[in-house]
């Protein structure tokens, strides 16, 4: 208790809103998931590539060929689990996002790549149907996009 009291006094002394908020989180008064402002609601609600870029804070995109899709298959036997691997060869890559055009919301994931980390990520996404899949690269402040089609075998064929 002493530590918490001390921390509260320090926070009040500083008058810092973020410090007080942090204390509330620590005390279990605010649930981080609901209170966390970091998750990009706008980008994840977007329906189109352009709207995702806008949601991420960008303005426009240009096509790029400097993306390697690694082990990403061209046909997925089951849309529930589609392996996607993206390596950006664009200098100064800051982030990699994966978008599935025909999903209800296009953006599946966005990865921030700090200095020292390779601009390469692999994960698995859900696809409702055959769709264009985009790798959206933010590099040196600009947005670049590479696209490939992944076919999904549907219904009884995959189940």
């Amino acid at each position: 208790m002493h530590q918490v009291d001390h921390a509260r006094r320090e926070a009040l002394k500083q008058g810092s809103a973020t410090a007080i908020f942090g204390l509330f989180v620590a005390a279990g008064l605010v649930r981080p998931g609901t209170a966390h402002a970091a998750w990009n609601q706008a980008a994840f609600s977007a329906k189109t590539v352009d709207a995702v870029v806008k949601g991420l804070g960008g303005a426009s995109t240009a096509p790029t060929k400097d993306v390697n899709w690694g082990s990403t298959p061209e046909i997925a036997e089951n849309g529930a689990v589609v392996p996607v691997s993206v390596t950006s060869n664009v200098p100064k890559t800051e982030s990699i996002s994966i978008l599935v055009e025909k999903n209800p919301n296009a953006l599946a994931a966005t990865f921030t790549i700090p200095a020292g980390t390779d601009p390469t990520v692999s994960t698995r996404v859900k696809m409702g149907e055959t769709s264009q899949v985009h790798a959206l690269i933010k590099a040196d402040g600009k947005y670049l996009v590479a696209t490939r089609e992944i076919k999904v075998t549907l219904g009884g064929c995959g189940g």
Binding site: S71, T72, P73, E74, I75, A76, E77, N78, A80, V81, P83, S85, S122, R124, T130, K151, T153, L154, G156, C157, G158, G159
Partner: protein, 272 residues
Amino acid sequence: MTRLTTGGALVLALFACLPGLAAAQAGDDTVKKIEEYRQALAGGNPAELWEARGEDLWKRKAGPRNASLEACDLGKGPGVVRGAYAELPRYFADTGRVMDLESRLVHCRMTLQGLTAAQARARPYGSGTDRSDNEALVAFITSESRGVKMNVPQSHPKEREAYQLGKKMFFFRGGPHDFSCATCHSESGKRIRLQDLPNLTEAKDAQRAYTTWPAYRVSQGELRTFQWRLFDCFRQQRFPELEFTSEASVALTTFLARNANGAEFNAPAIKR
């Protein structure tokens, strides 16, 4: 269309499944690309999550007797897990029965942990948050036979008896569809839509099929055991439910496990 000789049914099935594909693509190319998909998945198998939970369940004290399962004898002596699954089902003198992994686990959970038969048999297959301890334990124990050659014994008369009963079941036709296991699984090159059906009367297919269960089924997001495979085959052929750990279930497992002898066990795997 050059591959028509390999089976018109295959090409037709692919057309039916992939209407968007150009004709030229629909043959071996599709098969190759689906193989690439399967290989891409193999790099990270969520079955590991079940293996980890199973190991915890094996080692953690539980039940009315607050005991772990570590003293359980899976056939190679109390507590020996490594390689045990590759030699199951087998005859156990302490029960006087041939037992598969699941029936032995039920036995150990009752005798060591003090669970009732109903508790030890509860929920053989999980779904979502309704999880199955059995599946997790099976995932852990089978993973400890990875790389071990299948060596299911037939030295005790009851083991031979179980094998013969299992063989009879495999070929037994019945139910509303007049179906047997053999209807789907005794000819090479058969498929249901895109799925290859193993010919379980041939060593190579029988070995590959048995040694790749349990598997994480990506279509279900669940780990499924060989027991589940049999259970669901029975449902698909409209047979009466295959009762978990029953004599019939152990016998059919004995037949199929023994036929995989000599092959390296390679599961938990990942399947579509």
